[in-house]
């Protein structure tokens, strides 16, 4: 699975890009990214949401990821 990152995210000095990994849930994605890029924790602290096939998930890390899904990490949104 290819996980794309918003260009506002900075992993090891590079903005945006994508990471290939095996993940069945959002929690798997987060764990893999923290494992490979320890600085990802700082992004998580500022807030990360996950778009799966266009639907944005902010909180539920148990959310399963269908095969061949488009997965995109974006900043976590709040509102007014």
């Amino acid at each position: 699975m290819r996980v794309s990152l918003s260009s506002t995210f900075d992993l090891d000095g590079g903005l945006g890009g994508s990471v290939d990994m095996h993940a069945e849930t959002i929690a798997d994605i987060m764990a893999t990214l923290i494992d490979r890029y320890p600085s990802f924790q700082q992004l998580l602290d500022r807030g990360v949401a996950v778009s799966i096939n266009g639907q944005i998930y902010r909180d539920d890390w148990t959310q399963p990821i269908p095969a061949d899904a488009q997965v995109f990490l974006i900043p976590r949104i709040e509102g007014g």
């Binding site: 096939n53 944005i56 995109f72 949104i77 509102g79 007014g80």
Partner: protein, 755 residues
């Protein structure tokens, strides 16, 4: 218990109809209890001393004279709010914003607070507190704050998102960039390119009820807070973290709320009231004055935005670039990032790029305001689209339809859209009678679009059935727009009972699990989902009880139209059991009947709207009058259409105020010059025509009823819709909001002189 979140198309009995709101009578008769309407035995009056300077070192605070004043029971400074945030910079910023720590960062920043036996004594005590300031250079303008020569407000801010990483601090907290495609190639394809710069001024949410609370802290570490808020669970967590209290020992009750629109998602005086109560060992009531609300709560950003867009002669937009500068007040925020994410979100633009700069200035800490950051970005982009359309010679509505985003479009912020409703709203606008109505002299018509994400979040709900069959629905999301009615309607729909049989209540923080804020247009989406699931839980129990009453297995019971039915040939002679009949026997069939649900309601559907505005401009004065206004918005599913329309109208009204009048005006001294409703002009009923609405329903695939949030999106288009209408009425393209009479008149004069 797991529940199916996916949308199911079905016919409704209650949902989609219109009922009066259950809190309506209390509100119109004055019985409703707002933030300032609570009292406690022995309560003191809290007042806050605020900085008269835009930026100053606090050399010394001498409270000795004030302490000796009879009736003064406690005085606090930052020394009484030690930093227990454990390195969490976000929390530390909130703490520093609630009470200055060594430096006053903006006009109105709290420097000390008093609790006294009455208002007069508290006011007198504030005058007796001697604060020695050393004034520091200040900056309040977003563009000036980015200059090398600007006074640096925080030594700790090193710009994020810039390579190589800067070595010196500045007022630029972060750079954000997003988009896709090849910008240069896109502009090379264009037949027409328009480039313009825009400014929007800082505005306040303008809620009528000021911030108010009653705090009581006991020596054993337990505490209570009655407060006007959009999210009492979040207030509980934040206040407990700032004061070092155990979260579960702080009970927070949300009052009725007299408007919030994002401004009541943040704590301002609540930690101060709790600290005063802790020191005085008595309850403390603290109510902000209107001037304090303007000077020291969280308005929206002022901005400076450059937009460049190119299009082919057939109207296809080939490239779009926006560079946006948003000030977040005296503390870093992510407001420009939100501008970047929303700027081009209504369109399918092959090559687009948004760059955002989040900047700090000596102004109050910016807070969310209804679709935060999106209206300013839309003002710039939607105005530029009209200029493009004019240059090409295509109708603005057709230009938008030509480039509209659809399911499958790559969103500018990255992902691909699922089912969305922007095209539906534009087509509805094009077909609307408003578009064919004749305009009179000095009148012009403008169209603009808007986008907002909407969010879900953590939600926890209880549903309890009384022995007479009436139902208590216990919610944790504060009702800011009539959600108690909508939730009661949903419960009635699920249970198959009349709406009047359900009473919805907002519980305090000791009565339910955590609920996120009512923000991000999440109330009806997320609490609605939890209510559906809680009702379905209760129905399971009702079926079990019916089975017991009949002496059959639960599998042979179904629930239809508010009653249990026995199925199968052997049970066909059993008469139905109504909810009331089952409830009446509950004590003898297993006890109270209840349903419960806790859910992370992710999957909020995106909100899109298109607006039509007719404006008449007086060429002598530059005054613009809105003569007709129509909102078309996708609601997914309108639970109670009255309140959906109310949200559309409220958002449009606030956007019109922003477009025409509202503006924070700072003097050269960096102090706010118009901290009151006389000088900060929000629209009143007599300023506006009836705002017409059209609800579209493109179901959200991840809500059982298809609900999308509706609360925020309609504040996004008005700035541009009004600007486009003024341009069509006068020939003047306004690039600075608010488009107040002096600015419009100056534009008309410039145009006349040029011709």
């Amino acid at each position: 218990m797991g529940h199916e979140q996916k949308y199911v198309d079905k016919k409704y009995e209650v949902v989609g109809t219109r009922f009066n709101r259950p809190d309506g009578i209390d509100k119109v008769t004055g019985k409703a209890r707002y933030g300032a309407d609570a009292s406690a035995p022995g309560q003191l009056v809290g007042r806050v001393l605020r900085s008269p300077h835009a930026h100053a070192s606090i050399v010394k605070i001498n409270t000795s004279k004030a302490e000796k004043l009879p009736g003064v029971k406690a005085i606090i400074t930052s020394a009484d709010l030690p930093d227990v945030t454990g390195g969490d910079q976000g929390l530390a910023d909130i703490l520093e914003n609630c009470m200055a720590r060594g430096r006053a960062l903006y006009d109105g920043h709290a420097v000390a607070a008093v609790a006294a036996v009455d208002e007069q004594t508290a006011a007198q005590a504030l005058k007796l507190i001697d604060v020695k300031y050393k004034k520091l250079p200040h900056v309040t303008d977003v563009d000036e704050a980015m200059c090398e020569s600007a006074p640096v407000i925080h030594d700790r801010i090193i710009t994020r998102g810039v390579e190589p990483k800067p070595t010196k601090p500045s007022n630029v907290a972060a750079r954000t960039q997003m988009g896709h495609g090849d910008i240069e190639a896109g502009f090379a394809e264009a037949d027409v390119v328009i480039e313009k710069s825009y400014k929007t001024e800082q505005t306040h949410q303008g809620y009528i009820e000021p911030h108010a609370c009653l705090a009581s802290v006991n020596p054993d570490g337990t505490a209570e807070l009655w407060v006007t808020t959009q999210g009492h669970f979040v207030f509980r967590n934040v206040c407990a973290s700032l004061l070092g209290l155990d979260i579960a020992k702080l009970k927070v009750t949300s009052s009725e709320i007299g408007g919030g629109f994002g401004g009541k998602t943040h704590v301002w005086v609540e930690p101060v009231a709790l600290a005063l109560s802790r020191k005085a060992n008595r309850p403390v009531k603290l109510v902000m004055g209107r001037d304090e609300v303007f000077r020291a709560t969280g308005p929206t950003s002022s901005t400076s935005i450059d937009v460049k867009m190119g299009a082919k002669k057939d109207g296809t937009i080939t490239a779009a670039v926006a560079e946006m500068r948003y000030q977040g007040g005296a503390f870093p925020g992510n407001w420009a990032m939100l501008g970047c994410m929303t700027a081009f979100a209504c369109y399918d633009i092959k090559n687009n790029q948004s760059i955002g700069w989040d900047v700090v200035v000596n102004r109050p800490k910016v807070a969310a305001y209804r679709a935060p950051s999106a209206p300013m970005a839309a003002f710039a982009v939607e105005s530029t689209i009209d200029e493009l359309a004019k240059e090409i010679g295509i109708a603005p509505i057709d230009m938008r339809l030509k480039n509209v985003a659809r399911e499958g479009t790559l969103a500018p912020y990255g992902p691909t859209y699922g089912p969305i409703g922007i095209e539906h709203t534009l087509k509805a606008v094009k077909d609307h009678p408003h578009m064919r109505a004749k305009l009179k002299k000095n009148q012009g018509r403008g169209v603009a679009c808007g986008f907002w994400f909407n969010i879900g979040g953590q939600t926890c709900t209880d549903l309890n059935i009384s022995v007479d069959g009436t139902v208590n629905l216990t919610l944790g999301t504060v009702d800011v727009g009539g959600s108690r009615s909508s939730m009661a309607m949903i419960a009635a729909e699920e249970l198959g009972i009349p709406y009047e049989q359900v009473r919805a209540n907002i519980a305090d923080t000791t009565s339910l699990g955590h609920n996120d804020m009512t923000e991000g247009s999440r109330g009806t989406f997320s609490s609605g989902m939890a209510t559906i699931f809680a009702a379905r839980d209760a129905i399971s129990v009702l079926k079990q009880r019916a089975a017991k009453m009949w002496g059959i297995t639960e599998e042979d019971v179904i629930w239809e139209n508010g009653q249990a039915l026995a199925t199968g040939d052997s049970h066909s002679n059993l008469p139905p059991l109504s909810l009331k009949e089952i409830a009446a026997k509950s004590g003898r069939t297993g006890g109270p009947i209840a349903g419960h649900n806790e859910v992370v309601a992710d999957g909020a559907g995106m909100g899109f709207a298109s607006h039509i505005c007719d404006v008449e401009v007086d060429p002598e004065t530059g005054r613009s009058t809105i003569v007709r206004y129509t909102v078309v918005q996708d609601a997914g599913k309108a639970i109670n259409p009255d309140y959906v329309e109310g949200q559309f109208q409220g958002g449009a009204t606030q956007g019109i105020g922003w477009a025409l009048n509202e503006e924070y005006i700072y003097g050269d001294d960096g102090c706010l010059q118009n901290a009151g409703f006389l000088d900060y002009r929000i629209p009143v009923c007599s300023d506006l025509p009836f705002i017409d609405t059209q609800i579209l329903e493109v179901p959200n695939p991840l809500h059982p009823y298809g609900v999308r949030g509706v609360g925020e999106t309609s504040i996004v288009p008005p700035l541009a819709a009004v600007g486009n209408a003024i341009a069509n009425a006068t020939g003047v393209r306004m690039t600075h909001a608010p488009m107040s009479p002096p600015r419009v008149l100056a534009g008309i004069d410039t145009l006349e002189h040029a011709s």
